[in-house]
């Protein structure tokens, strides 16, 4: 039975349970002294029955669906002849893949090897059994739950409190998704990164100056081992991010100051949407623009004044990324500046300072923690930004700080390593997770420092 049918059946059962529970509650109450005899409103008894029917069934369904693939695969492996089981893990993985593909293709007789044919048939049989048993178990669980729920419908059952306890726990569960996500991120990058560090030493990864992850097809090929020194990537990331921040910080800060202190209402109604639109444009559009328009423009400009500019220069990517970050910096600085009490600003103006002096000598020092925090957050976004650099920066790992040359970044390498066919046993793929771990740790540190700066050094004026 396909999963949709199970779900629809389950929903129908829940509705049925709700109405049964409600009806039974009303009947129970009639026997006692009218509606007053019930502890809760009749609908709550219906919800209670539906919850009893639904929760165990849904838990079983989720667990079964999550783990059935692994269990079926391992059962299929167990049924293979001993010679096949004795293969190395990689070989076995390949064989299993072949068998699964064979079974899914629907034409088992296409395979020559009778052992694989048998295994594919076994796999299909297991799959059919699993899907039927799943449907049966889920429906039976729902029915048993419904019966238990119905037995609990009595005049003095505190149905509302029970339902509300379940709701509260469900809400706690939803809030805990944030923790689960963080745990998921840490473990997924950490485990694969640790596997990577088994074949490449962390020392080489962190301090090596040579990055060429291409592993050779033939053993005697030049550079067959692949080099995993990530320094060029870190330098490239830093270079592009610094260019971006050099553009975004002054422009974003000045935009925020101008909009909040100088602009007339009419200018503001035009200029604010401009920044909002810039913030809403997807990064892939910026990337396309950088590669198609900005990079050739910079190249031609460089040629005109006699400079040799690479067609995928760090400058083009950094420039466009800087523009992308302007609204981000501007809105964070705006928050920081508008949090400065009005009395300080008016006091300074009243003493005869010009507006710019007030801003430079009173407002900005008072808002500095917020502004610095905002810059750190912008830096973390620049480091993690992917699409602009994937489309406009280079692929080759040059160790240079010349903005006119092509450099590559951590995110570009993650994307190039992980798109296309993947085998989860070679260092090339695992390197992406090591880079991801580095990226996660760096941005996490920046975020924590930023929040800390904002909280700790904020002046309390009230």
């Amino acid at each position: 039975m396909p999963i949709q049918t199970i779900l629809i059946t389950l929903v129908a059962l829940l509705l049925f349970g709700y109405f049964l529970g409600r009806k039974r509650a009303l009947r129970v109450s009639d026997k006692a002294k009218g509606n007053r005899g019930l502890h809760s409103l009749p609908a709550y008894y219906g919800y209670m029955v539906a919850i009893w029917a639904g929760i165990p069934a849904v838990i079983i369904l989720l667990l079964w669906t999550s783990f059935q693939t692994q269990i079926i695969t391992s059962l299929t492996v167990a049924s293979l002849p001993d010679i096949m089981q004795g293969q190395s893990t990689d070989q076995l993985g390949l064989t299993v893949n072949e068998i699964v593909n064979l079974a899914e293709s629907g034409d088992i007789s296409a395979e020559e090897d009778p052992a694989k044919q048998a295994a594919a048939q076994h796999y299909l049989r297991l799959k059919a059994i699993s899907s039927q048993a799943k449907a049966l178990v889920v429906v039976v669980a729902a029915l048993i739950g419904m019966l238990i729920g119905l037995r609990l419908v009595k005049a003095d059952t505190r149905a509302r409190n029970k339902v509300e306890t379940v709701i509260r726990w469900a809400m706690i569960g939803c809030a805990a998704v944030a923790i689960l996500t963080t745990i998921g991120i840490v473990f997924s990058v950490l485990f694969e990164a640790l596997r990577f560090f088994q074949s490449v030493s962390p020392f080489e990864f962190l301090f090596g100056l040579n990055w060429s992850p291409q592993t050779a097809i033939r053993a005697d090929q030049v550079g067959s081992s692949g080099a995993f020194g990530a320094v060029p990537l870190f330098v490239g990331t830093l270079l592009i991010s610094s260019i971006a921040l050099l553009i975004a910080v002054p422009l974003g800060l000045m935009s925020a100051i101008f909009l909040s202190e100088y602009a007339t209402a009419r200018v503001r109604t035009i200029a604010k949407p401009v920044l909002e639109i810039l913030a809403g444009i997807p990064t892939v559009v910026y990337g396309f623009f950088a590669a198609l328009t900005v990079a050739p423009f910079i190249r031609n400009l460089g040629e005109a004044i006699g400079l040799n500019v690479a067609s995928e220069s760090a400058l083009a990517a950094g420039l466009v990324m800087g523009i992308m970050l302007i609204p981000f910096v501007s809105s964070l600085s705006d928050d920081a500046i508008s949090a400065v009490p009005r009395a300080m600003r008016d006091g300074s103006l009243g003493l005869g300072a010009t507006r710019s002096e007030t801003i430079k000598q009173v407002m900005i020092p008072a808002a500095l923690p917020g502004i610095v925090g905002g810059i750190l957050l912008a830096a973390s976004r620049a480091i993690g930004e992917t699409m602009i650099v994937v489309m406009a920066a280079g692929l080759s790992a040059n160790l240079t700080i010349n903005p006119l040359e092509a450099v590559t970044t951590v995110t570009v390498q993650i994307v190039t390593l992980l798109t296309g066919d993947q085998e989860f046993d070679n260092p090339k793929t695992l390197a992406a997770f090591a880079l991801g771990l580095g990226l996660f740790v760096i941005t996490l540190l920046l975020n924590i420092i930023a929040l800390h700066v904002i909280r700790k050094y904020r002046e309390q004026y009230e």
Binding site: T182, P282, F288, L292, G384
Partner: protein, 428 residues
């Protein structure tokens, strides 16, 4: 004496101070102008490059459906009609129109005047009405992408022949076709009705639009209830100064700032490799985007719930409602406009997100339009990325057109958010 000199001093310094003031103000104007200028250049480039893609060139050919060439006659069964040699017929009609074409290169160029979809179009027409066989009919076919680019002025005929993709003999043919009124530009419906294709003239956005739709559906169905429930818990029920609650809040704030590509790594390692969710599907894309959108929705919903005045909640509790009842009957309905605004903005972000989807295989070439959340699919921004990577010139204008369509959807979503905020905003 001293008073005069200090007055003079002040006056002299005033001049400087005012000049500094004007300069400072100018920096502000310049900053805003740079952003505006950049935005205008960006939009202008995209629109001017993308507009031609909404038109497409068609070629009119007189096709003689001779049974000898097709290898079937009008009475053949549908299967034979299906596999008849339509490409040959089209080739023959081109040869007839341009006699005297010599050499393999020129012959191939002649065949490539029309798209290779022409044979399939012809097949569909014949299957519809087999009586056409044996007659000569005039049909409109899609032109090949090079012809299309030339017709829109993308190739300069004054360049030396070696620098152009359209050679002199092809120019002659095109001129003849134009003179006979056999070349026509029409509105490009393919862009909206076809899936992706390797041939630019046959490539469309429908597959990506449907992929985005299914992905957003999964994201919305998961992130809205989870986000609202989490926000309601943190705002209304969570105990103050509890270590766990603080930890949850720190996590939410951090997740909002984690690079999107890291979520892609999470999706690859956990959803695909551990739980076996099928690759390249809207299901796994929606799961990853849910985790990314949750912080946005939670933060916006918390702000909306917080803005509901406590007097309303207290009145409900005073009348005997439980706290859960107060939440569902009063707080949430009153906070709903704010929650919906935040949700739409989160969805708009998710719709434009590309990087994490590259990790989970949504970057694969998918020609079929997906029909459910477990069909292989791609989404609009990834389609933009894929097309921008293609070397054909015709794909450049299609990339811009795809961006215009994507931006159109984003404008609609953001306008809806603004409208909601304006219409239902309440000051207590």
């Amino acid at each position: 004496m001293s008073t005069i000199s200090s007055k003079q001093k002040i006056e002299a310094s005033l001049k400087k101070r005012y000049a500094r003031e004007r300069r400072f103000r100018l920096y502000g104007v310049v900053s805003i102008s740079i952003s505006s200028l950049f935005l205008m250049v960006l939009l202008f480039t995209i629109i001017s490059k993308g507009l031609p893609a909404f038109q497409q060139t068609w070629i009119n050919l007189d096709v003689t459906l001779s049974p000898a060439l097709l290898g079937v006659d009008a009475n053949a069964d549908p299967e034979a009609l299906f596999s008849a040699k339509y490409a040959k017929v089209i080739k023959a009609s081109l040869k007839e129109m341009f006699p005297g074409v010599k050499g393999r290169k020129q012959k191939r160029a002649l065949k490539n005047l029309v798209s290779n979809s022409a044979a399939w179009d012809l097949r569909d027409k014949v299957l519809e009405n087999p009586k056409l066989i044996g007659t000569t009919q005039s049909f409109w076919f899609l032109a090949k992408d090079d012809i299309d680019v030339f017709m829109k002025g993308g190739i300069d005929r004054n360049l030396p022949e070696s620098d152009r993709r359209i050679k002199d003999y092809q120019l002659e043919w095109i001129d003849k076709l134009i003179a006979e009124g056999r070349l026509e530009k029409r509105f490009n419906t393919t862009l909206f009705t076809a899936g992706d294709s390797r041939e630019p003239e046959q490539a469309g956005m429908l597959g990506a639009i449907m992929g985005s739709f299914f992905t957003m559906l999964v994201t919305l169905l998961l992130s809205f209830p989870i986000g609202v429930a989490a926000a309601a818990y943190l705002e209304e029920f969570a105990p103050q100064n509890n270590r766990w609650v603080d930890f949850i809040e720190i996590n939410i704030n951090n997740l909002a700032a984690v690079p999107s590509i890291v979520f892609g790594l999470l999706g690859l390692a956990v959803f695909i490799n551990f739980f076996g969710v099928p690759r390249s599907t809207p299901l796994v894309g929606g799961l990853v985007l849910t985790l990314m959108t949750l912080p946005t929705i939670i933060i916006a919903s918390r702000a909306a719930i917080k803005s509901v005045p406590p007097s309303i909640k207290e009145a409900a509790i005073g009348l005997g409602a439980s706290r859960v009842q107060t939440l569902f009957h009063h707080t949430l309905p009153l906070a709903m406009p704010g929650i919906l605004t935040g949700t739409i903005i989160g969805m708009a972000q998710a719709l434009g997100e590309t990087a994490p989807l590259l990790m989970i295989g949504m970057v694969a070439f998918v020609a079929d339009v997906p029909g459910s959340i477990v069909d292989p699919a791609t989404v609009m921004p990834v389609q933009v990325y894929l097309w921008s990577d293609s070397p054909e010139r015709a794909f450049t204008e299609r990339t811009s057109a795809a961006i215009m369509i994507l931006l159109g959807f984003l404008v609609i979503m953001n306008s809806a958010a603004i409208w909601l905020r304006k219409k239902f905003e309440r000051r207590w």
